[in-house]
């Protein structure tokens, strides 16, 4: 039994947990909810074991290093962090519905890591630039930040579902929103799923369509079903506050993540900041969340506007993580010399 196998199994455990959370929510089955929590805890244990096993295996292979060095390992750790943060939120908020919106993210991260061709699950030796303790600090803190933002994203989505459509219709917003959605979905299909733009459009169009059919159906849903589904959500004010608390946590860790990255860059290349695309995108993300904090604290933004900012912020997180590979001129990480 090696770590890759354990982690593939955990993918399904997380999938099951996500499914049970959704099932418990839609069919009002608290027993399924309790089961979901247990399955999530088991998944988290397995995930932890998988990470430790991988660490040990790398030492057995004579190329020992902490398992935070490539895309596969970072995705596995991302899923782990989402699991931990979600379970803490579940305990604090005493509500399992949030799990229906966050556990699937952990599942998707693991599934993507295991299934996407081209993401190697093999343990690779470290190239010289990655041999630094700052790397470990950097990856761990960044991913705690990302996972917190992912949780805040889930909570923001719940808020928007509960609050429904904007009261006052604004024409340019009605056009801008689907367009923005399409651009994001297109970008992500290009980065994550397809090798070229034509293929990405073919994937993105139906995805957007499904999303809007979903939105349409939610709006047309009979009031009693709607009440049943959304009535069990935590109060809007609590969702808002919860999302904000998780965002604060994420902001602290994103800041430490960027800072540890800067210190590492300084020890490896003699410069703490070089405006390379990945660095710049992490700064963009940081600016967006700083905006959120100030808007909420000082301008009294609450609820929907903050939820939208939270979605945009998480899109920036994803772009920092994956999208940067699309951009020109990314050389400094990994590449060395020629």
């Amino acid at each position: 039994m090696n770590s890759s196998l354990v982690l593939s199994i955990i993918t399904f455990v997380y999938g099951l947990a996500g499914f049970l959370y959704i099932f418990a929510w839609v069919f009002k089955r608290p027993d399924a909810g309790r089961l979901a929590s247990w399955v999530a805890v088991i998944g988290l244990f397995g995930n932890t074991a998988g990470i430790i096993m991988r660490w040990v295996e790398s030492y057995r292979m004579g190329i020992g290093h902490a398992p935070f060095s490539n895309l596969y390992e970072s995705l596995v750790f991302f899923a782990w962090t989402i699991g931990v943060i979600y379970l803490v939120v579940e305990r604090k908020a005493g509500n399992r519905i949030i799990g229906a919106f966050t556990m699937p993210i952990a599942f998707l991260a693991m599934a993507y890591a295991s299934l996407k061709p081209g993401i190697s699950s093999e343990i690779q030796p470290l190239i010289p630039a990655l041999k630094s303790n700052w790397l470990i600090a950097h990856v761990i803190t960044c991913f705690i930040g990302y996972a917190a933002f992912a949780t805040a994203f889930g909570i923001g989505a719940m808020y928007l579902l509960k609050q429904g459509r904007d009261v006052e219709g604004v024409t340019w917003l009605d056009i801008a929103k689907p367009l923005t959605l399409f651009i994001f979905v297109l970008l992500f299909s290009r980065v994550l799923l397809a090798g070229n733009w034509a293929m990405s459009i073919i994937i993105a169009l139906p995805l957007c369509l499904i999303f809007y059919i979903g939105v349409f159906l939610t709006r047309r849903m009979p009031v009693d079903i709607k009440d049943r589904l959304l009535g069990v959500f935590p109060e809007s004010a609590i969702l808002d506050e919860l999302g904000y608390q998780v965002t604060l946590f994420g902001f602290l860790f994103l800041s430490i993540g960027i800072i540890s990255g800067a210190v590492w860059a300084n020890s490896a290349w003699g410069r703490y900041w070089g405006w390379d695309p990945k660095e710049t995108w992490s700064l963009i993300t940081w600016f967006i969340y700083a905006t959120l904090l100030h808007a909420r604290l000082m301008r009294g933004w609450r609820g929907r506007r903050i939820a939208y900012l939270s979605l945009v912020g998480f899109a920036a997180v994803l772009f920092t993580y994956f999208g940067v590979n699309l951009l020109p001129g990314l050389h400094s990480y990994g590449a060395f010399g020629q």
């Binding site: 190329i63 690779q124 030796p125 190239i127 010289p128 630039a129 041999k131 630094s132 700052w134 506050e241 608390q245 604060l248 946590f249 902001f251 602290l252 800041s255 430490i256 800072i259 800067a262 210190v263 590492w264 300084n266 020890s267 490896a268 290349w269 003699g270 410069r271 703490y272 900041w273 405006w275 695309p277 710049t280 995108w281 700064l283 963009i284 600016f287 967006i288 700083a290 905006t291 100030h294 808007a295 000082m298 301008r299 920036a316 940067v324 951009l327 020109p328 001129g329 060395f336 010399g337 020629q338």
Partner: protein
Amino acid sequence: MNSKQSSADLSAIDRIWKSFASVRLTIALLLSLAATSIIGTLIPQNEAPGAYLQTFGEFLYRLFSLLGLFDMYHSWWFRALILLLVVNIIICSLDRLKATWKIIFVRNPRFNIARYRQLKSKAEFNAAGATASLKDRFLPVVSRRYRYRRTEETDAGFAIYAEKGRLTRLGVYVVHLSVVVLLIGGLIGSIFGYEGFVNLAPGDSARSIQLRHNNQILPLGFDIRCDAFKVEFYDTGAPKEFRSSLSILKEGKVIEQKDIIVNDPLRYEGISFYQASYGSLSPTEVILNFTSQATGMIYSQRAAIGTAVDIPENLGTFTLKKYTRQADFRGHNIGEAFIGVLTPQNSNPIDITLPLKFPSFDKMRKGQVFVSIADFVPRYYTGLQVSKDPGVWVVYIGFILMIIGIYITFFMSHQQICVEVTLLDKKSQVMVAGTSNKNKMGMQKKVAQLAHRLANLTSGK
């Protein structure tokens, strides 16, 4: 600021001050910085003009270069945005600090009991016993949780006021200060620092380096010498380690020596040498195989460029002349090769090409002896990044301030509570109420806990 003043009464300075103290400006600036930063990740920065011309065409090239988009993070308008943000942070912080200061630096904070009575996070219960005895029992419990406390007599009993975390109100200013400190550090670095590079072959030394942004030559004031350079690879072919042994020399004397690897530079007089890259140099030593046609014997010999080697069986001498990256054979490029001269015992010298890729190339000559390259010692030069940044410590102080500041701001708060005991007939009524400047939900729980604890105390548990 006095909000009752109408804007017409404000002097021009006040108005400018006000607009710079606005958080609306902050939001606009942060979002503009986020949006414009994207441009620089879409257009590769600091490339050669030729490359841009080819990608964008004449018109767009002119336009973009006018807007500074090819080095946008150093363009005037991007710097202006950052400067505006700094002014905004400083003025806004000063503006609010005036009010915060009064709350933080008072000897005896003011408590207003009416305010506590109206709070949402409030708990009440009845307790048996005289108020005086309750005071003695309550005070230690409150003291354990709150640093500052004070008791006041009221008409029908007493009130305990307590608080903690007053200084955490300064956290936000620490965060904002850290942003300013970071940018000052960056400024110091860009004025007094530099980034450059130098390539050294083993054995070579350099007295100056080349700067990165303008290609100027900068003298170091000492010599840097590469004593050895080693590259190691994993079995997979991925690089494992790059190690340069460096010496610093002054007036011919070695002052300092260190092996550097990636992530572990050499620092001397504020200048750091980083292992940044490497490249291959032409090899100067090879192992040659001479195959005698007559006997079929193979003789292996080491040969360095420029020195003649005697071939056994009196087959003559061979001299390695040079290495070339691209050798030519009848108009074809046959890649890396050595060129040598074979001088047989009693005939004229012949030029011989020894391509690395085709070891039996020389067989085609059908001479008395066939020469091939069995092995060669690869040689590399080391590429050193050289940088000096006297601002880096300021930046690191900014980093530390930022982390501490954010932690304080987010996770600590200024909490105030009031426990009021009023005598009603024979019983005492107790009210516990509290507020905090942040995380009100958490405070609500704390108030409930404290009330619970005090209630247990009076019921004898």
